[in-house]
């Protein structure tokens, strides 16, 4: 058992260190708990879908998809389009989803074909593709828009009439439109979430026992149980502690945004259970075995990149509608790096990633992300230190995970040949 414990600590070192840093930073920042809870919920809402987009390429053995930047660009393009034609509110965002989906299918297809040409180097290729595409994006929107491509709205153009502004404010009707559809105080949200989870849990238990005749014990002890217990504890705590309930009610939860996150997560789980998902995992294990099993490896890889790009574009739309404005030339730059670091912080590796890791990573990474400038300000009198520190950690986590993975692979290879 002791060995097992040490192993578990070793394998989750990144997650544990991050959790400790989060707690320390929260402590030193001196911010009220209510504020922290609000920030975490907001950031979880706007960042999780992008992280979910990374899962399929990981399972397909292509590593971390740095190319999701293309998805983020599709989102930016579609947001510029709807702002240009002033399609406001919910119809605007829906149109945005449609445009971004088509655009990212096209870009994902091209990316997939390219990845097939650089098998084994997908990560570095994806990263460079991101830089390259960012250059093309700037070229188009700084110099071609307004001069060659006509624009309807002069508001989003720079004063000379050529090029799009650095920051585009979404129209009032579009900003936070998804978040605002249905909001709920957090205490209430937890109550409903607990009841819903409990219902789902009981239902699945019964379903398993009745339908597939597994033993009652194995049906009860599922992963869902852990989630039910955690949410249950929070719920009970909120019932009995007045101050805790007060803190929770300080925060409102954008229900539809979280429902969308849940839907995308379910979509990924569902895809994983289909024939396509099976093929993806086979390709991920070994392209050679997959080929002999009659799977069209290249096609499967392209499909998983396309899905990844599409999900990333949805995630970026959610992100930007929450922010309320679009930093035209920079918003997509760090999308890939932050999402990847978050996933790795959650305990994923280059070859393995799960949905719970997405959520754990999103919470830990983004908590430290917003709290570290504040902690830096309290400790050193300057928020810049915290900002440098969080970027440093972000890069370090990626470097560390890449190194550990490469090192492990060499060790395995040596073991095989010995």
């Amino acid at each position: 058992l002791k060995d097992k414990l040490i192993d578990a600590l070793k394998n989750n070192a990144v997650t544990i260190i991050y959790a400790v840093l989060c707690i320390l930073a929260i402590y030193f920042s001196g911010q009220p708990t209510a504020f922290i809870v609000t920030e975490i919920v907001t950031r979880l809402g706007r960042n999780t879908i992008i992280i979910l987009s990374l899962l399929l390429p990981v399972l397909c053995g292509m590593g971390l998809n740095f190319g999701i930047v293309l998805g983020a660009m599709s989102a930016a393009v579609s947001l510029i389009v709807i702002t240009n034609f002033s399609v406001e509110g919910l119809p605007g965002i829906l149109l945005c989803f449609v445009i971004a989906t088509f655009l990212s299918i096209a870009l994902g297809f091209v990316l997939g074909i390219f990845f097939n040409k650089v098998k084994g180097q997908e990560m570095i290729a994806g990263m460079i593709v991101g830089f390259f595409a960012s250059g093309i994006f700037s070229l188009i929107f700084l110099f071609l828009v307004g001069s060659i491509i006509p624009m309807r709205s002069s508001e989003i153009l720079l004063s000379e009439g050529v090029g799009v502004r650095n920051t585009i404010r979404l129209q009032d009707g579009t900003s936070q439109v998804i978040d605002n559809i249905w909001k709920m105080p957090m205490a209430e949200f937890i109550k409903h979430a607990f009841l819903l989870l409990l219902a789902i849990y009981i239902f699945t238990c019964l379903y398993k026992v009745l339908k597939s005749k597994v033993s009652i014990k194995s049906a009860i002890l599922s992963k869902l149980l852990i989630l039910v217990i955690i949410v249950g504890i929070v719920f009970l705590f909120s019932l009995y502690s007045e101050s805790f309930r007060f803190i929770l009610n300080f925060t409102t939860v954008p229900i539809v945004t979280f429902l969308l996150i849940g839907l995308v997560a379910l979509l990924v789980v569902f895809l994983n259970k289909t024939k396509l998902g099976q093929d993806i995992r086979t390709v991920g294990q070994s392209m050679h075995i997959a080929t002999t099993a009659g799977i069209n490896v290249n096609k499967i890889r392209i499909i998983s990149v396309i899905i990844s790009t599409v999900i990333a574009s949805w995630g970026q739309i959610i992100f930007i509608q929450n922010m309320g404005n679009l930093n035209t030339y920079t918003s997509h730059d760090n999308v890939g790096i932050y999402a990847i670091a978050a996933l790795l912080v959650g305990g994923a590796s280059i070859s393995k990633a799960t949905i719970p890791q997405v959520f754990i990573g999103a919470v830990l990474f983004h908590t430290l992300f917003f709290i570290s400038p504040m902690a830096g300000n309290e400790l050193f009198g300057d928020p810049m230190v915290g900002e440098f520190f969080r970027i440093f950690l972000c890069y370090l986590v990626i470097a560390f995970s890449l190194a550990v993975y490469a090192w492990q692979r060499i060790k395995d290879k040596n073991k095989l040949s010995a």
């Binding site: 390219f114 040409k117 650089v118 098998k119 084994g120 180097q121 990560m123 570095i124 290729a125 990263m127 460079i128 593709v129 830089f131 390259f132 960012s134 250059g135 093309i136 700037s138 070229l139 700084l142 110099f143 001069s147 000379e160 050529v162 300057d382 810049m384 230190v385 440098f388 520190f389 970027i391 440093f392 890069y395 370090l396 990626i398 470097a399 890449l402 190194a403 993975y405 490469a406 090192w407 692979r409 060499i410």
Partner: protein
């Protein structure tokens, strides 16, 4: 007729597709400069300066490729050492060549140590050097952002105003040792056209040294590690040691390179400035005809000249065509990354044949 086609084909193959496209583009730009009526003198002088500034980085790239560690995305690690040396020498108040050489003297041992550790870690992650090197360099550059922020400088030229410690984002070198190399034996042909002789002497000296290095036993063994590591292992070369040596030389050259770059440029750019500085060097050597597995000194020289000339000429031409501020920056991003992407597609083909 067939003979002519054959020779054309041969010439085409020896030039290579990427070099051909870039050369044609460069010729096009030159014509455009004349058509637009730009001052050719200024453009040439600017190109020469840029070539001299960036040459050492590209030479550093060659050593990394030659020893088998591939494209060195970890170049910023050496640059950080160089920045530290340069800032310290200014902190000591040294001027002229004394200042410059003190900067070298501080930077080189640091770069040797850093390059050694970096090379050792690259040996542990064979096959993923580019990715690991890139993110290792990114994290070291951002770690040093914190170091610069707390750097206890007393020099009013360096220190952050109002705060009283830390380094400014841009440190002006001015009368310390700005342009000492550029002006060394500089040849003034006319008002606008100046040849920075000292800058070139250093670059050419580096290339000649590299040329003779690859004639020595160590150099030949290193080249062998790069082109065929398994064969190198078989004939008793310590491949890992050679890779470390190549990485150390690469890191040292990039440390010296950033000081040379800064003295010509007139500023030290601190904090996140070195983050992306490996990419132009990578693009330059690839344009010169190198692959991620093989590089020669001719690739270094051709690549630097072609790439930097394009960047210099693109700005006036583009701004004459459309009213544009940072178009050359965008061009740099597109060309350099496009070239790297093109090279990545060729890695596998090379590996299988």
């Amino acid at each position: 007729m067939a003979l002519i086609m054959d020779t054309i084909k041969k010439i085409y193959h020896s030039i290579g597709l990427s070099r051909l496209i870039i050369s044609l583009f460069l010729i096009f730009l030159f014509i455009m400069v004349v058509v637009v009526g730009m001052d050719l003198n200024l453009a040439i002088s600017d190109s020469l300066h840029r070539v001299g500034r960036n040459g050492l980085f590209v030479l550093a790239m060659m050593f990394s490729i030659a020893c088998g560690a591939g494209l060195n995305f970890g170049l910023p690690i050496g640059m950080v050492c160089g920045l530290l040396g340069g800032i310290l020498s200014m902190e000591f108040g040294l001027r002229g060549f004394t200042g410059l050489f003190t900067a070298f003297a501080i930077a080189v041992p640091l770069a040797i140590a850093a390059g050694y550790l970096y090379g050792k870690s690259l040996n542990k992650v064979k096959g993923s050097e580019m990715m690991v090197g890139n993110y290792l360099a990114f994290s070291i550059v951002s770690l040093f952002s914190i170091v610069w922020f707390f750097f206890p400088s007393k020099n009013p030229r360096i220190v952050l105003p109002l705060i009283g410690y830390g380094v400014r984002p841009t440190v002006t070198i001015d009368d310390y040792y700005s342009k000492v190399l550029d002006d060394f034996l500089a040849i003034r042909i006319n008002e606008d056209l100046v040849i920075p002789t000292g800058l070139f002497l250093l670059f050419i000296f580096g290339c000649i040294w590299a040329h003779f290095f690859f004639k020595t036993k160590t150099g030949i063994s290193m080249e062998c590690c790069g082109t065929n590591p398994r064969f190198a292992e078989m004939i008793g070369i310590n491949v890992d040691k050679m890779r470390v040596l190549g990485t150390v030389i690469s890191t040292v050259l990039s440390a010296i390179g950033i000081i040379v770059y800064a003295q010509s440029f007139g500023f030290y750019q601190m904090y996140t400035a070195p983050l992306m500085m490996a990419f132009p060097a990578i693009a330059a050597i690839l344009i010169g005809g190198a692959t991620p597995l093989k590089a020669k000194i001719s690739h270094v020289i051709i690549g630097t000249v072609l790439f930097q000339s394009i960047l210099t000429l693109a700005t006036p031409v583009a701004s004459a065509a459309i009213d544009a501020g940072n178009l050359s920056e965008i061009f740099r991003v597109i060309i350099s990354n496009g070239i790297i992407l093109f090279a990545l597609t060729k890695i596998r083909r090379d590996a299988t044949t």
